[in-house]
Amino acid sequence: MLAMTGVVKSFGTNQVLRGVSLSVAAGEAVVVIGPSGSGKTTLLRCINLLEDYEQGTVTVDGMPIGYRIDPRGGQRVRMSEREIAAAREMIGIVFQSYNLFPHMTVLQNIVAAPIRVKGVPRAKAEARARDLLALVGLSDKAQEYPVRLSGGQQQRVAIARALAMDPKLMLFDEVTSALDPELVGEVLAAMQQLARDGMTMVVVTHEMSFARDVADRIVFMEGGVIVEEGQPEQMFAAPKTERVRQFLKRYNDRYRI
């Protein structure tokens, strides 16, 4: 479903991604873990071209997004704004800071893109929005403004908003890092349900228990490269790489002095 090959990205002189290749099968839930600064968030943002990257390509369901290889010359060409926007409809992303539109109600937030970008008729879009709100457990908040909701509620609205575009792939960028601990559970539950329903997802998170429970595959990144990937049980019990072992040991031993 998702294929990233050889992605290289620098911020100025700092090379944040040093040739990352990742593929995700349809229906698979991949969780990316690793220390801060490892490039996890940048990797996610490169998928739907919120960040430009110098080398590499990304394809979703076989269709390139962001850059394509020109068949005649073989060089890398940036796609037009229109093509990129169309490709972005296939990908849903939920951000750490929810990024809801504060001047719109919850319902308006969810239907804005389907109506204006996909041309879905208002009645149909609103019906779907209400279904999604029920899915994330916020049916009674449709007419509220985001400022009146808790962080966890806003994040669930953000998930519903992304799902309203019927994406083939969902990206989650540390979506619970900004939440109070008591609100984390409801968001992770929603994500777990999505995974069970067969959504293809790439999740960047610090929540190790979520990674262990929900991931079909875990990817460990550090210093801009993928260090190791594998099944959660295998990685948590017997990691192949020393670095991963250190990282997980610190997590396992986190309350020991």
Binding site: R82, N99, R116
Partner: protein
Amino acid sequence: MMKTFAPLLHSYWYLFRGAGMTLLMAAASVVPATLLGGALALVHVFGRRTARSALQVYLFVVRGIPLLVLLTFVYYLLPLTGIDLPPFWGVVVVMSLYYAAFMSEVFRAGIESLPQAQWDAARSLGMQRHLLLRIIIFPQALRLAAPPFVSLCANLVKATSLVSIVGLWELTMASREVVERTLAPFQIFLGAALIYFCICYTMALYGRFLERRSLVGH
């Protein structure tokens, strides 16, 4: 008490007519200033380098020269160029061009103060530039820009007083005429000040109301 303020009580209606002209002048200037200011803000944020540099020069000049200087010289220059423009419209043109600069900065600040995250979220949903600007960026930017915009409008009203120096008739000129007739400068100018105060303070209160309202949604 009543005796000292008698001159004012006799002439207040004349002053009100002056205030009417003041408001007319201000209103006629605000509209083009706002439209031009909005256009210039877009150039400042989205324009190409040459356009932006030209704009920087324009802003530097306008913000560094007193309005009175511009008004005076246009007043003297206009007859010489042969353009047959009534002084009222000459003043409106100058004030529009002058305040457009300040308004463009206010609008630009509104747009630029929106977090990048709003752009990210909208783009991620597949929105392209025109849609994104129209339903996500501009509504929020205008809400943020509204309080300083109202403040600029109040400044514009006060600035109309300058046209009296080049001989145009509005509230300040009207009060000068009455003072010459009645020789009661204190009372008359105080009355004019009161009228200006009512107009501008109302606008200031509205601006504060807008400011409180814009915080609610954010």
